[in-house]
Amino acid sequence: MELFLIFTIVGSPLIAFLMIALLPHRLKRIAPLLSISFIFLSFLSSLLFFLKHPQIQETPFEVQWTWLQANRNLSFNVGFLMDRLNLLMLFVVSLVSFFVQVFSVAYMADEGRGQSRYFAFLSLFSFAMINLVASNNLLQTFIFWELVGLASYLLIGFWYQKPSATEASRKAFVVTRLGDLGFYLAVALLTLHLGNLNFSALNSPEAIQSLSGGMITLVTLLIFTGVMGKSAQFPLHIWLPDAMEGPTPVSALIHSATMVAAGVFLTARNYALFSASSISMETILIFGTLTAFVGATLATIQNDIKKILAYSTISQLGMMMMALGAGSFEAGMFHLTTHAFFKSLLFLASGALIHHFHTNDIWEMAQKGSRSQVLTLLVIAVGGLSLAGIFPFAGFWSKDLILEALEHKPVFHAAALLVSFFTSYYVFRLLFILYFRSETPHAHEEHHESSLLTFCMNFPLISLAVGSLIVGFMGTDLMHHKLLKFISPEAEGKLSIELMMTGTGIAVLGLAVAYWNYLKRKIQPPITATGFRRVLEKKYFMDDLFEKVFGRMVLAFSAFLNWFDKQMVNGKMVNGTAWSTLRLGALLTKVQSGELQDYLMIVFVIASAVIYFLVK
């Protein structure tokens, strides 16, 4: 029964994918239905699994089979592990996927033929993501890690007619693969040194003892490069803002809630291993802080609503990594969960706006009368307040937990507070522009969507808004830390009132600055200082560094090699040999005058000479 449930959980999106891919042309219209029902099935199964095994915390459920036999002693397995971490992620992934897919029905209604492709890819993504979190070993995780990357690539480039979209998809794929290079090597190294990649074995004290300290650091850092790629950590974050070229629900699902959080999940999954190396933990903390800061500051100057959210995602992922680096595994995971809800909510809401106004620019939206979209603005407010960490929204609780984890590291704590300030600033900037700078819409007739589509659009928004509220409270004293305890039984989750006050204070400060800047225009916040602003506009030169310096260096080297291949290897060596052979032949033909008597002379001379000198 367990096995059956697990197979239902991990397999149903695959079935949806295959069915959609193989559907005959006429039936392609039912693709959304298939996709949605199968992902819901997956969600239900994981719920059922949880209900059947409420004690999963104590006794994880694990199954595995041999997948690949490398040699006599080494084999790779496929298997599934069900413990609290997986189940939490399964819930998050399947639930968010479900809502996003429902939303997509409305959002992608005009796509026509592309719709089935879209839902096929979404199902593929859900399949890969669910397997990623359900897998019981590092290699399988890596496999699905790559597959989610593929799905992300396909979905970012969904509108493949748009050169910018394909460019962005390529960037996303290549940059994440660059990060995965480290992950790949880590898998190979761990295979060599441990021979068993199961998470339970990897994180067991014996394994950690058997590896040398340097090796643990090396391996964890290598894994972390993969995490950096996938979870958009500085400096490999550059692909995520570009990835916003994809359809908005895709951004909601992949590039905010699930896939980009996979890195955080992976780190949490191997937390024992990571904890064994203090260098790695420090590195994670530093990179997390950098990411959080870079993301938050960059978000403050964006005018594209999706870019704001993308940078915000980067920044929040940085926060999660900070929590993990600081040693608070549950804070990171808790923030991941709340973030998944409120960020996908924000993205979907922005999708609703984009769908309605046909623009990404917040100023243009305001001009066209964004104020009229009451429901959407309401949910954006819920999500935004949550993101900014305003009491009592979800983000408040999780962010406080992170701040608490950072308490003993003053530098990082200060940095986190700074990040919260910027976060609150850009959130309120967004809200103020959308609501208060909005002009009254012209009296043009609203084009009415069918009620089904309206429902498809509104239902996920409302559900996610409610969900994100509930999820936040689940980590609090009010609900006895249900979620926290679920993540980690030892979690205490005590929130000190001072920290709460500081956090809120910082958020309010951000609100105030945004208020002054965008409503009153009284003071110029430091952000507009020209030098810094230019740096921000250049995105901290990271894109340039990668594309112009790094990319061009590689390409120039390739061009050199290409030249070398064409000119030296092929030209000088190969064609040169051929040419000299031909020249030699041409030289020798000179001897062949074609005149009989010349040949005869040679014959006579040589014959005579041979005889003359041979005869004694």
């Binding site: 190979a188 590689v554 061009a559």
Partner: protein, 487 residues
């Protein structure tokens, strides 16, 4: 000797060729159907052989031995073990799909299919024979039709490419044959029977060293070993679709197979001594091929250089001299064979429809030929080692083996994967995505028949990617046995 299944596989294309020669030139459809049937039969027989093959038995199976010139130790001796059963299967699959892909050919159909089947005879022969003389003979049979096939039915600088390819391959075979003769006379084997030599003769270490590197380079030319790779991109580009498929898909594997079957078999100590050198060459292959591929503007050249890069992985796997590496190399041979055949099958259709392969002129093809684009993307994803497709397990195995023996090569392999990602994705972007070129409004996607042909290849990529045991179970016992025994 029971029913000689290997000989039957070998004779299938020969019979087909003879039948084609007796078919009137006008009835092109009949010629194609004959080719399809004989290649279909060879696929069927290969599967029977695969089915009858017992992987746990590390000895030769289904042996067939006919004395031919016993005085000189030249015997017609066929047999399969884990090393070549997969290659025979690969050959039959690729020729079958190659015939399907060539269905629309209409220029000198009779000669084309006759030569194609002749070529395949040679390839089958090399893979199944256990006699060095026949090895050489079949090799030549495989190489020579290639010249005509490329020079007559090819495109883009075809005479040059055909000549270059032929000279290169003959040079490689000259190396090989010189070593074979040295084994025969200098080393005092006095027979060409591989197994007899292996069992009875002990080679002088100095001779081993020379002979191994000679064989490695001789076979390496065929396997596209750097710096003897330059024939392969040109040859692949110039060749007609089916020949490119066979060539990159099967013929390059023939070189790697030769290295394993002859060089490693006979000179294991020398292999050990030369391993750092060969691993270095292989590393060059991987990175160099991948980096050069990023600079190509012709779709086929990209694939040509990607083959160089991927064959580097095979060579690296062999150079590690570990079970894992060898398994990976063999798996990569099979996987790359199918993948690259699919690549060329796709590009062939694009060229037929668009009459160009340059990125500058292509673009947006996914609008018009979605199915073909999907196939191409699947092949590309296999090339960049995406899990779930067969390229991943093979690269993983080689990587694991290499990172232990030659860490730098291992890291280079991993970097090669990233570069491969870059050029594959760029190629997809430039050729299939973006706005559609107006000239290509009329182009058509593949029909059901062609869909079937390429679908077979896709199915293999996916099946092996998801369930690599199917292939690894074949090779694992023999590689384990060979390496434990020290060959």
């Amino acid at each position: 000797m029971h029913f000689g299944i290997l000989t039957s596989i070998l004779l299938c294309p020969v019979i087909g060729m003879i039948l084609i020669l007796f078919t009137p030139r006008k009835s092109e459809q009949a010629i194609k159907i004959i080719s399809l049937i004989v290649s279909g039969i060879s696929v069927f027989l290969s599967f029977i052989a695969y089915n009858r093959f017992d992987p746990s038995n590390v000895l030769l199976q289904m042996e067939e031995k006919i004395s031919w010139l016993p005085q000189y130790g030249i015997n017609y001796w066929n047999g399969v073990d884990g090393l070549n059963i997969g290659m025979i299967l690969l050959t039959s699959i690729v020729i079958f799909t190659g015939v399907i892909v060539s269905w629309k050919l209409n220029y000198r159909v009779k000669e084309f299919f006759a030569l194609l089947l002749f070529l395949v005879t040679g390839v089958f022969g090399v893979f199944m024979t256990l006699n060095l003389f026949f090895f050489f003979l079949f090799y030549e049979v495989a190489v020579l039709p290639m010249y005509l096939l490329i020079a007559i039915w090819g495109s883009t600088n075809k005479e040059y490419a055909a000549l270059k390819l032929t000279i290169y391959l003959l040079l490689g075979s000259a190396f090989m044959f010189a070593i074979f003769l040295a084994i025969y006379s200098l080393a005092g084997a006095h027979t060409f029977d591989l197994m007899t030599i292996k069992d009875k003769v002990t080679f002088d270490p100095a001779f081993q060293k020379i002979a191994y590197i000679g064989l490695f380079l001789g076979c390496g030319v065929l396997a596209g070993c750097w710096p003897f790779h330059v024939w392969s991109p040109d040859g692949h580009v110039a060749a007609p679709t089916a020949v490119s498929m066979l060539h990159a898909g099967v013929l390059m594997k023939l070189g790697a197979y030769g290295i394993i079957r002859v060089a490693l078999f006979l000179f294991p100590q020398a292999a050990q001594a030369w391993a750092p050198f060969t691993a270095t060459l292989a590393t060059f292959n991987i990175l160099y091929g991948a980096l050069v591929a990023t600079q190509q503007r012709d779709l086929k050249y990209v694939i040509g250089y990607s083959s160089v890069s991927h064959m580097g992985i095979v060579l690296l796997g062999i150079s590690t001299l570990t079970v894992t590496g060898l398994n990976g190399a063999l798996f990569q041979m099979f996987s790359h064979g199918i993948m690259t055949a699919l690549f060329f099958a796709c590009v062939g259709h694009i060229y037929d429809e668009c009459h160009t392969r340059f990125f500058d002129e292509l673009g947006g093809l996914a609008h018009k030929i979605p199915i073909l684009s999907t196939f191409f993307i699947i092949a590309g994803l296999t090339g960049l080692g995406l899990p779930g497709l067969s390229g991943f397990p093979s690269e993983l195995l080689v990587l694991i083996a290499a990172i232990k023996t030659y860490p730098i090569s291992g890291i280079a392999t991993a970097i090669g994967v990233v570069v491969t990602t870059f050029y594959v994705v760029s190629a997809i972007m430039k050729a299939f995505y973006g706005p559609l070129n107006k000239n290509f409004e009329h182009i058509k996607d593949i029909d059901l028949w062609q869909y079937f042909g390429r679908g077979i290849l896709v199915a293999f990529l996916i099946i092996l990617g998801v369930w690599p045991k199917l292939f690894l179970n074949l090779v694992n016992p023999i590689t384990t046995y060979l390496l434990l025994k020290g060959f």
